[in-house]
């Protein structure tokens, strides 16, 4: 390894730690919201260790905290997790893994590690390094932060008095916000919101969120046939 690639590797590592710290911070909000939604400390931590995908974790906690059933929570979480499978697919030819490393890499395949890997895809070795450094960094900070948030919130007697129920919607909005990159996507988002709102009085909690996928299917099919 020459000097310039050594320097680049340190830069990538520093960025990876930065991304880990930044996502870790919102792990605190996840831990706090999970516990105040009625999940135990252990359940909260297992979600961060095992499910390890922010939007899916917030979905499980949000849906069950609002009275939805386990099936609706699992289905919503899984549909949100489909993108991680696509990420794995898109970086598999860069990672070139075998055996147990493939298992570990799968668990670490999330928005951040994929983005950092793709951002360095001019150099395959650096792309791999970025994936591992970011994946490990986010995993470690996310789990520590979850524990801190969950522990802190376990002293809260009435989450509503602290406004924590109101923070769940804000958390989903903050996850959605950077994805609203064009007009069609914003329209799709509004339609999905209206459908969920309209269905809420008539179906079990959790179902309105699942039903919103119909909008993605309709618009996705339209987009594909327009091309």
């Amino acid at each position: 390894m020459n000097i310039s690639s050594h320097a680049r590797r340190s830069t990538v590592t520093r960025n990876a730690i930065g991304v880990g710290l930044a996502t870790g911070v919102y792990g605190i909000s996840f831990g706090a919201l999970a516990v105040t939604s009625g999940f135990s400390f252990a359940q909260t931590q297992v979600l961060s260790l095992g499910l390890f995908s922010g939007a899916s974790q917030f979905a499980v906690v949000g849906i069950m905290g609002a009275g939805g059933g386990a099936i609706a929570a699992i289905a919503t979480s899984s549909l949100l997790g489909v993108r991680n499978g696509l990420y794995a697919l898109s970086i598999a030819n860069v990672l070139k893994l075998k055996g147990f490393k493939k298992v570990i890499a799968s668990q670490l395949t999330i928005d951040e590690s994929t983005a950092m890997s793709i951002a360095n895809n001019d150099d395959e070795e650096m792309s791999r390094w970025a994936f591992w450094a970011t994946g490990i960094s986010v995993f470690v900070f996310w789990n520590i932060a979850t524990a801190i948030g969950a522990f802190g919130a376990s002293f809260v007697a009435d989450p509503k008095s602290l406004g924590l129920d109101a923070a769940v919607g804000a958390a989903f909005l903050a996850l959605l916000w950077p994805r609203l990159i064009n007009k069609q996507i914003r329209v799709v988002g509004i339609l999905a919101g209206l459908l969920a709102l309209g269905l809420t009085p008539f179906v079990q909690p959790g179902i309105p969120v699942l039903a919103s996928v119909l909008i993605a299917i309709a618009m996705g099919l339209k987009n594909a046939s327009d091309k």
Binding site: A22, G50, S56, A70, G85, K102, A166, A170, T200, V209
Partner: protein, 105 residues
């Protein structure tokens, strides 16, 4: 087993299977234009629906309460590019203040 544990474990297992299958499934199955354009929109629709449900739903009843005010505050915070944690706890803090002074439930 308690419903929450079932959800925690099953969603974790499925999440892993999805990630792992991306590593072993031949790319051509998932790279069809229809599948790609649908999956690109799935996070958008679900997160939008979650925002709405978490803001207005109380079980199957729709209500307007401090959560809506908090959400509008979150929009302002996002427009001025506040970090995630500021958006989340800023919204919570506003709801807490409104409730403390009995301005809205």
């Amino acid at each position: 087993m308690e419903a929450r544990w079932i959800a925690v474990i099953a969603s974790s297992v499925i999440a892993f299977i999805l990630k792992f299958s991306g590593n072993i499934v031949p790319a051509r199955y998932l790279e069809q234009p229809k599948i790609k354009s649908i999956t690109a929109l799935v996070p958008i629709v679900m997160l939008s629906a979650l925002v709405v449900v978490q803001t207005f739903a109380s079980g199957q009843i729709l209500v307007i309460d401090a959560r809506l005010v908090a959400l509008l505050f979150a929009v302002i915070l996002l427009i001025i590019r506040a970090p995630f944690i500021v958006v989340v706890f800023g919204a919570a803090a506003l709801a807490a203040i409104l409730r403390y002074f009995d301005l809205i439930n």
